[in-house]
């Protein structure tokens, strides 16, 4: 990694996210590797569960606040909080301060936490000034811009900057990389027909690029798109961008069986 080590190691609390924790721990380990390679000391507070977004987006501010208070408590001691997810990082960064607007003490703590919370790739590039990774990857990749990461946190150029420098990797831009994939948390099961139409349009765009690999920074989007790609019999491999950046691609891609893909 082309970066000189920090003089005092940066202490990062990893917000692993419920979907990575439940469905794909290899993403968490990829995130840790990237952060440690960049000179950070990484801890994973045990008292983390969820960022509270499902409750928040369902109008349940009470539960959202309770969960958020728990997150603040567990993470506020770190120099930075990093999540392999634009959606969760956005929740903490933009929405926690709003949740506690009426509670001065927690509001201050929420703002402090928000200010040091980042999505993984933008943290590496914008804060740690990482400009390349050591990994290589033989494949053509198309990248999906998850909505929260893109519009709440400005994650757009950073993953492309790193991917473009990976040995063997060819980046192919879709025409609709910024279009919503249709996941939207509970939306995809509350309005499955509409969600299905949206993910279908997304898959059309992905397939049209001719890429053999789809990457993104959010597990919700990835599970959604992988599910539709697989149902349509597409061989496109789906991974979290952290896996490719960290060179940890031994595990099968999302939704693939072991050995199914070379």
């Amino acid at each position: 990694m082309s970066k000189s080590p920090a003089t005092t190691p940066v202490r990062v609390g990893l917000f692993v996210t419920c979907l990575v924790d439940l469905a794909r721990p290899s993403v968490g380990f990829a995130a840790v590797k990237l952060l440690e390679d960049a000179g950070c000391v990484v801890a994973v507070p045990a008292a983390q569960t969820c960022c509270g977004q499902p409750a928040y987006n369902s109008g349940d501010s009470g539960d959202a606040r309770a969960i958020a208070a728990q997150v603040i408590e567990a993470f506020e001691g770190f120099d930075y909080v990093v999540a392999p997810s634009g959606s969760c990082a956005g929740m903490i960064r933009l929405h926690y301060p709003k949740l506690f607007a009426a509670d001065p003490a927690l509001a201050t703590r929420a703002q402090a936490l928000a200010a040091k919370t980042h999505e993984l790739v933008s943290f590496l590039v914008d804060v740690l000034q990482v400009d390349s990774v050591a990994a290589s990857y033989a494949g053509t990749v198309t990248y999906h811009d998850s909505c929260s990461g893109l519009r709440e946190l400005g994650v757009k150029a950073q993953p492309r900057a790193l991917l473009n420098k990976i040995n063997g990797l060819i980046l192919r831009e879709g025409r609709e990389t910024e279009a919503c994939c249709g996941f939207g948390g509970l939306f995809c099961v509350k309005y499955p027909d509409i969600s299905g139409r949206m993910v279908d349009a997304k898959v059309d765009d992905i397939v049209a690029t001719g890429a053999d690999t789809l990457l993104a920074g959010d597990m919700g989007c990835l599970i959604n798109m992988a599910g539709r790609l697989s149902r349509r019999g597409s061989p496109v491999r789906v991974r979290h961008v952290a896996e490719v950046l960290a060179g940890l691609t031994a595990e099968p891609p999302i939704g693939a069986a072991p050995g199914e893909d070379a």
Binding site: C18, G182, G185
Partner: protein, 475 residues
């Protein structure tokens, strides 16, 4: 207009199955967004103008009573009349009253969403006055007795063949062998049919894009020129507008006009932007003898100062519709009432009730594209979430959904229990799914698996692996 918003699920199912609609919506989503992008790129000051437009409306709304009174004084000073209407019913009566006094038989109309809101056409018809829509899209859907499906392009859901069929069905003067294959011939047909009606009309009814307090002027924006024929030919000009349309000065209106067409269709300026101020002057050769402004509340004062205050900045450009992936999937009719897309999802529950419009704020992924393109920087996702908050507090959201969320929140607030439950779930699904890597079917997972496979979890949770590694003397 009668609402079917409560039927959103059925409406959208029908819409998704409609192949012609799908083609029309593809055309829309390929056209308008690219044009807006080009227009914005050509104007370096575009972003700064959006900020100023927002600031202008914020200032007006914060002083709305003063500006409304100033507007009224100027209108009256110029010989016009302002009719204040609290409800749709009062507005209907005001318009009908004016038409009756004018002994009106026909009324030409340019496009007005407020007209739809108060269902003025049916009211006029029931009382023996014939309303004639003159905006081409509105004219077509009037013939078909359909509601508009887009706030600026009301017939966007139709193909040219559907329109040709409608003309053949409804235009009695139309020769059966006259070719109507091309849009040009359809336009000629409509133009010919409407020309005489413009000239014969007794009253011209228009909406207003803005009302200018400084001069008592109303602003009309069209591409077709139909609004100008509507107000300048008949003896009476009636403007119907909701009260948040006020802007302070001509200069403020100009700033907003610089972002309006660019956001809506990608034009730098619409073809016809007209500032109407009072009835004809003594020596004018043309123009109406009477000028009326019907000023409507119908729920706006309820929004003012509250959680939906910022929605009152809306200038009805339609950019949010054009860029919304949900609108692109289901079109405007699925929303079931006058407005649609993200602005409709915010406005409709406010105007006709959360009970009736409850689905709309929920049918969103909060992707945020609407807010990104809104010229007035309205935080639409924020307000959609506010509706969901109200539904939750009023216990109007689905019982099953609430139970599921309550269970999730219960676990999430108890990390040790959470890790236990999630660990069990991950292990079970991981084991079941290991061979194939995915599930084609899942019990209780029908909504997902109808169109998608469900990728299998890796089997162990990150937390358990991490803490095991660290306990085993890792780094």
């Amino acid at each position: 207009m009668r609402s079917t918003a409560a039927n959103f699920e059925e409406n959208s199912r029908k819409a998704l199955a409609d192949v012609k609609l799908r083609d029309a919506l593809s055309r829309l989503s390929e056209g308008f967004p690219a044009k807006r992008r080009d227009a914005a790129l050509r104007l370096p000051e575009f972003e700064a103008l959006r900020d100023q437009a927002r600031d202008i409306k914020n200032h007006v709304l914060a002083n709305l009573d003063v500006y409304l009174e100033a507007f009224e004084a100027r209108v009256v000073g110029r010989g016009g009349t302002v009719h204040w209407c609290r409800t749709a019913a009062e507005a209907r009566d005001a318009v009908l009253g004016i038409c009756r006094k004018a002994n009106a038989r026909t009324v030409t109309k340019s496009k007005s969403m407020i007209g739809e809101e108060i269902a003025i056409n049916e009211h006029l018809e029931r009382n023996g006055v014939v309303p004639v829509e003159t905006d081409l899209g509105e004219y077509i859907i009037q013939l078909r007795q359909e509601p508009p499906s887009h706030i600026i392009a009301p017939a966007i859901h139709l193909t040219k063949n559907q329109i040709a069929d409608t003309f053949r069905d409804k235009h009695r003067q139309l020769a059966p062998d006259r070719p109507l294959d091309e849009p040009r011939s359809l336009l000629e047909e409509a133009r010919g049919e409407l020309r005489g009606k413009f000239i014969a009309a007794d009253v011209g009814l228009t909406g207003a894009n803005m009302l200018i307090a400084e001069t008592g002027s109303t602003v009309l924006v069209t591409n077709e020129g139909n609004a100008d024929l509507t107000y300048s030919l008949p003896k009476v000009h009636v403007v119907i507008a909701s009260l948040e349309k006020i802007v302070p000065t001509l200069e403020d209106a100009t700033t907003i006009l610089r972002v309006l067409a660019r956001s809506a269709t990608g034009q730098d300026m619409s073809v016809y932007t007209t500032f109407c101020t009072g009835p004809r002057r003594a020596d004018d050769l043309d123009g109406p003898d009477e000028f009326h402004v019907v000023l409507l509340d119908n729920g706006r004062t309820r929004m003012l100062g509250g959680e939906f205050h910022e929605m009152l900045r809306c200038i009805r450009c339609g950019a949010c519709l054009n860029h919304c992936p949900v609108y692109k999937a289901v079109g405007g009719h699925a929303y079931g009432w006058v407005y649609s897309g993200p602005m409709g999802a915010v406005l409709i529950p406010g105007l006709i009730g959360l009970e009736e419009g409850g689905h709309l704020p929920n049918a969103s992924t909060f992707c945020g594209k609407c807010e990104e393109v809104c010229p007035m920087r309205i935080p639409l996702p924020e307000m959609l979430r506010a509706w969901r908050r109200l539904q939750f507090e009023q216990q109007k959201s689905s019982a099953v959904g609430r139970a599921g969320l309550a269970a999730w929140a219960f676990l999430a607030r108890r990390p040790w229990l959470y890790r236990l439950a999630i660990g069990v779930g991950a292990a079970a699904l991981g084991r079941l799914g290991r061979a194939r890597g995915r599930f084609r079917r899942l019990p209780f997972g029908g909504a997902w698996t109808t169109m998608r496979d469900f990728p299998a979890p890796q089997g162990r949770t990150f937390q358990s692996l991490w803490h095991a590694e660290r306990r085993g003397g890792g780094r």
